[in-house]
Amino acid sequence: MTSAVFNPTIAKLALQALLGRRRFFLLLAFPVLLIGLVALVTALTDGDAAYEILPGLGYPLVLPLVAILAASSVLGPEVDDGSIAYLLSKPVNRYGIAISKWLVALSATLVAGALPIFVAALITGDGARATALFVGAAVAGTAYSALFLAVSAVTRHAVIASLMFVLIWEGLLGNLFTGVAWLSIGQWGLRIGHELSDQLPDPANLPWAIGASVVVTLVGVWFAGDRLRSFSLRGED
């Protein structure tokens, strides 16, 4: 039996899928626009208006959007058009495929999501706050990418389903009902970041935030692998 380990060939193909498509420019546009906006507002205004962009827009929106783009790019198109059959008709462990693709999606989320948030936060001053926000974004990005990878392995409408989760569950309902924070990946990240800087909110308790992030990450990747094990090609007939 092949073991569930990182597979460099799968990762390389996933990376090529990520970089070789037009979506990549969208992925690149988010961090550039975010940093540009924060730099502009910092230059034009006094006080903390520029920083407010990050908890208001960068963290709750840009980060999950980048994770959705990355996770759906490494798995979505191949599952949609069935060409993942080319990878799956090989004696390669399915969980290994999921782990490899997730690591690529995670790297992209960190580079194009968490890192730009850190850079933007540094522009607004307060290094401790920036580090805290970066740690929070890294934790949330880890769980987001695993969750959205699992979603990509299940449905053809992965992008829509993931967007609904972010916009409606975490965004809309999260703002209306504080209890949603207990089931919100973004809030877990903020809670962990709160340990480094109390300028970040404290929406849930720390062990829960850590435990839930770990569980979502592990279950998400495992679930994606299991779906790949049972991947079915349905003919037109």
């Binding site: 058009d81 008709s89 094990r229 049972s230 037109e236």
Partner: protein
Amino acid sequence: MSTLVLDSASRWFGNVVAVNDVSLSVGPGVTGLLGPNGAGKTTLMAMMSGFLAPSSGHVTLDGQPVWRNTEVYRRIGLVPERELSFGYLTGRQFVRANADLHRLPDAAGATERILEVVDMVEPAQRRLDTYSKGMRQRVKIAAALVHDPSVLLLDEPFNGVDPRQRMHLMDLLRRLGDEGRTVLFSSHILEEVERLARHIEVVVSGRHAASGDFGAIRRLMTDRPVQYAVQSSDNRALATLLMAQASVRAVSLRGEHLDVQVDDLGSFAVGLPGLARQHDLTIFELSPSDESLESVFAYLVAR
């Protein structure tokens, strides 16, 4: 040498039965899976390649189940009908990735050897999205063959491939069969299957309709009763004459036409012009009314 066995395999999607209680065994040599579009060929292929669980029954390769069994792909090479979505890779990169996924000790060497076999060495440094259909098909076959599998499964490999490339592909598959590999390909075109496969399995409406060497299948298909529509200068006179022929089973008048049911296609077609001339009748029109492949298949199922 490997044998792929379906044992009372069925597959349904909701309340639609795509494959209905099919038992067959595919051994070394080239086998053609023939059936009209929508007969369940793709579903059968998916079950045989481990990409679909049978709803009931078993699908095994040399005794091992193929569903959720990653290890069978050491012996199976699969050429799906789906297009390659890896357009950003070159032909060589794509085949090499397949070799790497198999962890071949000499992946680079195996890649070059198999590109040579499918005659794709020269265009191998071009991106896949610049390839013609026939070239993509050959690269897909190279990717499926790079680990030297004993079983090669191809779903509609000749679809959209031009005639010259088709000849080339057929030669290649024939050679692989002669080497003792189990080669199974699906097609809805009788002539394609007949030219390549020694053994044919026919599926119609999800059922296993016939199995045998192509001569036997061809005879089954040509000896079936055929319906003709004839229009002549005197249909009633012609009807009398036709009824006397041994090859004619039934004649009926339908408006301006005569519907003739014929048993023995050959002697009817050869005899008709002479018969008409002898009795000063003029044939205006003679057309088979059910020559479609679907009706041939329908006959095989009803048999």
